[in-house]
């Protein structure tokens, strides 16, 4: 059924996916959006082509065209060829015949990609039955083989389970198995690892790479993460506002970029190992005897569950932040880092522990004193769209803290808002705009302005740039560093991105499963980790340099073998029957 192709045949033969002068125009409420402006792209069997771009570049739209899944408001010209079929010439039945069979897609969100009320095995066999690949028992057995091939343990049992019983990483493996079910010639992966933890991401990338090596599948990888590109891609195409501005091999584009946009993009990517100063300025040094801004001792946060023991999301966490210092709090999902942030803000009650903010015990205070203390803590959240009340104009959003604490009068507040807008580099005309008229980066700047309105001593930033494009992230981080130099606040920077932490933190705290695994200065933790988990975390984080990344990958595989684990790859013995 499936041959194992040798690497020599990779990259040769007829292209499995071709876009020729593709042009896509959307009709919207407000007029036309010209999403893709005439691009050419080719994917050959056995190679990975990465399509890179930020939001609005048109990369996802391009990929969806290959499946013919665009909405009816789209007007498409140009040719899309999948294997030997021209998309525009196919009838709806013809389109359905190639979907899943010749070209398959892996989507971004594994948590919602699977139907929650149908068993996993049935979702796999469904694709096979639709394309007449296998029926009944034969199909079921093949489904189990596929699950084994993507590395899911206990495949027979898992096939009868429902999606909610699997973790995010395993669900993404199931999605990949589903994509493979009918032996497609090309797989389109749209941000397949963006929603996953970095260690899980590394496993999934290993799996996808083995697909191209062993099965000679062509892969079109869509991503905005340069590290992933360096890890996976053979060739790279950079998209900006609907056009491909640069293309070439991975080394050419990532190491010797020619186009100004590519250069700008690469400059903006934080590089793990480069330390402070990546975005222009470096954070100010902190004196040894600076007073403590935040001291956390043995904090614990519990969630009550019906009928079971309470769940300890955070257990025995202790660390401190000095005045004017940036401390990075790192962890994967479920580590409890966000919970710590929320508990510090008083949004979640903590079950135990002592939190001392600027000398006052946050957990013992009540009523007016809490409110007074709240003045001295500012907060930035992750999602720029959800952080601002859509019904209030920007000026009201920023002056809200001033109004709540009854500071000044209308005129002085307006004056202060103008000052803050200047500080975050937004034009004064933003005062009357609504959040939905601003871009993500601009909204996050408004969040900063709001957080700084009361001149706080401590700023808690919960993944402030994780939802932003790379170039926007760079400018927002540069702004954060400068603001910190000017205003002198202490900052607790919560993130899962080690490279970002590397670029601005003084000290680092690593959390896993609600407990602190390691803490120390930035150099200690990031360059010379002691704990196994920290080492794993650092090994899995990709860097945007393909040569360096290849080396890191080999080191990571060595580490995994040392720890007695297997490297994720497709097991073709399961598929060869």
């Amino acid at each position: 059924m499936t041959e194992v192709k040798t690497p020599e045949t990779a990259g040769t033969g007829e292209p499995v996916l071709q876009f020729q002068n593709l042009d896509i125009n959307f009709r919207t409420e407000f007029g036309h959006v010209h999403a893709v402006k005439g691009i050419d792209l080719v994917v050959n069997p056995g190679e990975v082509v990465a399509l890179v771009g930020e939001s609005g570049s048109g990369k996802s739209v391009t990929a969806t065209t290959a499946l013919g899944l665009l909405p009816r408001t789209a007007r498409i010209t140009g040719e899309t060829v999948v294997a030997d079929q021209t998309i525009s010439k196919l009838t709806p039945r013809g389109l359905r015949a190639i979907r899943g069979h010749r070209v398959a897609m892996v989507f971004q969100e594994p948590m919602t990609a699977l139907n929650p009320v149908i068993r996993i095995g049935e979702q796999l066999t469904e694709a096979m039955e639709v394309h007449n690949v296998a029926y009944g028992r034969v199909a079921w057995n093949r489904a189990i083989d596929l699950l084994k091939a993507v590395g899911i343990p206990n495949a027979e049992r898992r096939a009868s389970q429902y999606p909610h019983e699997l973790s995010g990483g395993m669900r993404q493996r199931v999605v990949i198995a589903m994509a493979l079910a009918c032996d497609p010639e090309v797989i389109i992966a749209d941000e397949p690892t963006t929603a996953l933890d970095v260690t899980v991401q590394a496993d999934i990338l290993d799996l996808l790479r083995s697909l191209k090596d062993k099965l000679n599948t062509g892969i079109l990888l869509i991503t905005h993460n340069m590290g992933v590109v360096a890890d996976m891609a053979d060739r790279v195409a950079v998209m900006f506002k609907g056009k491909i501005v640069e293309s070439g091999t991975a080394e050419e584009v990532l190491l010797h970029a020619k186009h100004p946009y590519t250069k700008k993009l690469l400059d903006a990517v934080p590089h793990l190992g480069s330390g402070h100063g990546q975005f222009g300025s470096a954070p100010a040094d902190v004196a040894e005897d600076a007073p403590l801004a935040l001291e956390v001792s043995d904090m614990a946060v519990e969630y009550k569950r019906a009928g079971k023991k309470p769940f300890r999301a955070v257990d025995g966490v202790s660390f401190d932040i000095r005045s004017g210092e940036i401390v990075g709090l790192v962890g994967e999902s479920g580590s409890g880092k966000s919970t710590v942030g929320r508990a510090l803000l008083g949004l979640i009650p903590s079950a135990a522990g002592k939190v001392s903010v600027l000398g006052e015990d946050l957990l013992r205070l009540r009523g007016k004193q809490v409110k007074a203390l709240r003045r001295r803590i500012g907060v930035i959240f992750q999602d720029p769209a959800a952080s601002l009340n859509p019904r209030l104009p920007v000026g009201d959003v920023i002056s809200e803290p001033l109004e709540v604490h009854k500071i000044g009068d209308k005129n002085s507040r307006q004056q202060k808002v103008h000052e803050l807008l200047d500080a975050v580099a937004l034009p004064r005309s933003a005062y009357n705009r609504y959040p939905h008229e601003l871009s993500g980066g601009q909204r996050q700047r408004v969040s900063f302005a709001r957080a700084l309105a009361l001149s706080p001593d401590l700023l808690i930033a919960d993944e402030p740039t994780s939802a932003l494009d790379v170039s926007v992230q760079a400018s927002v981080l540069a702004m954060l560093i400068e603001l910190q130099r000017d205003f002198g606040f202490a900052c607790l920077f919560i993130s899962h991105d080690l490279a970002v932490i590397d670029s601005l933190a003084h000290r680092v705290v690593v959390m896993q499963h609600g407990k602190i695994v390691e803490k120390g200065t930035r150099e200690e933790v990031l360059l010379n980790p002691q704990q196994e988990y920290t080492k794993r975390l650092l090994a899995a984080a990709p860097v945007p340099n393909p040569i360096e990344q290849r080396q890191r990958r080999e080191e990571r595989h060595a580490l995994l073998e040392f720890l007695g684990e297997e490297v994720a790859e497709i097991d073709t013995r399961e598929l060869g029957q």
């Binding site: 359905r96 899943g100 989507f107 139907n115 929650p116 009320v117 694709a127 639709v130 029926y135």
Partner: protein, 367 residues
Amino acid sequence: MAFMFFSLPVFWFAVLLKHYAAIQFNDWIAKADFPPGMIATIAIVGAFIISAIVGGTWKRRLITFAALAAALTIVFVYFDLVTWFRRPAIGLPVYILLVLGIAALMIAMTSGFKNKGVRNAVVGTAIVGIVGYAVLRGFLMTKPGILLLFGLFGVAIIAGALCGGFLGGFSRRQAIFASVITSILASVAALIDLLLSNWAAYLKVQPRPIPTIGSATANFSTTWWGHNIDTLTHIFLPTIALMLVSLASYTRYTRASMLEVLNQDYIRTARSKGISERKVITRHALRNSLIPLATIVAFDFAGLIGGAVITETVFGWQGMGTMFREGLLAVDPNRVMAFFVVTGSAAVVMNMLADIAYAFLDPRISR
């Protein structure tokens, strides 16, 4: 269209039903003829509705429409010539065709004809049903009984399950499901046949069949079948009136639920696997959107017990609603209290059942 149902005052509509569906129908049934104008209207409207439901391209719709219109015309001309509505007869041959048609429909809708297991199981059930009915028909006509009917119904379901289990091959679960539904439908068809066969006799004794008042004809002595037909005709109009109200909220709810489900990611995944749109909707979307409907059905059922006040008033039934209304008018607290006790208990019980059903249908809820 659904808005009509929401906005209709039920009591007004019930009175209209009484007048047109009952009084005028009773006038008509005396001769049961179909003048050409009526045939043409029925054929065109019916064909239009069904071809709209079936959908498809313009060409396909036109073909469906033409074929259906022709078919309906022929059927109703036949009805007219034979005064079928006075002496309806399905007969065994038509019954056989009907059951085979049901079987084909079930196969097409669940897994397609290629799946041998399901196909064999459903066809097997159909054959068992046909043979069973042919054998028992005479007996049922002359010596019916409610227990006998229920017993046979149970046997039919078991037979369907067994067929599905033994012949279903690999897709056992699906085969059992399809076979059981087939046997249920075949049993219902058999029941309709038996009822229709007794209709002519009923008309002789009761020349105005659709009643407007009461739940049974007074002082009525006739065969067992006659009594049942009597009950059914008395139920007919109130049921339509009550259905209308429930229908409105069901369609509104299902529409909202479907819209939400169709925006989910897993629908996109299903489409990207190359599944036909029809299957995406029936297999993936429908199941998810119907789950919350369980609670609505429960509430509705409980509500029907108490909420039929209007219908009972209009149609003159002596039910819970009437008791409540008269009790309230006479300022008799006992009657009103009794009413609340019964309806309250019903609501509580139905809600419990709904919770159980919900946990059963949605695998995400731990049992």
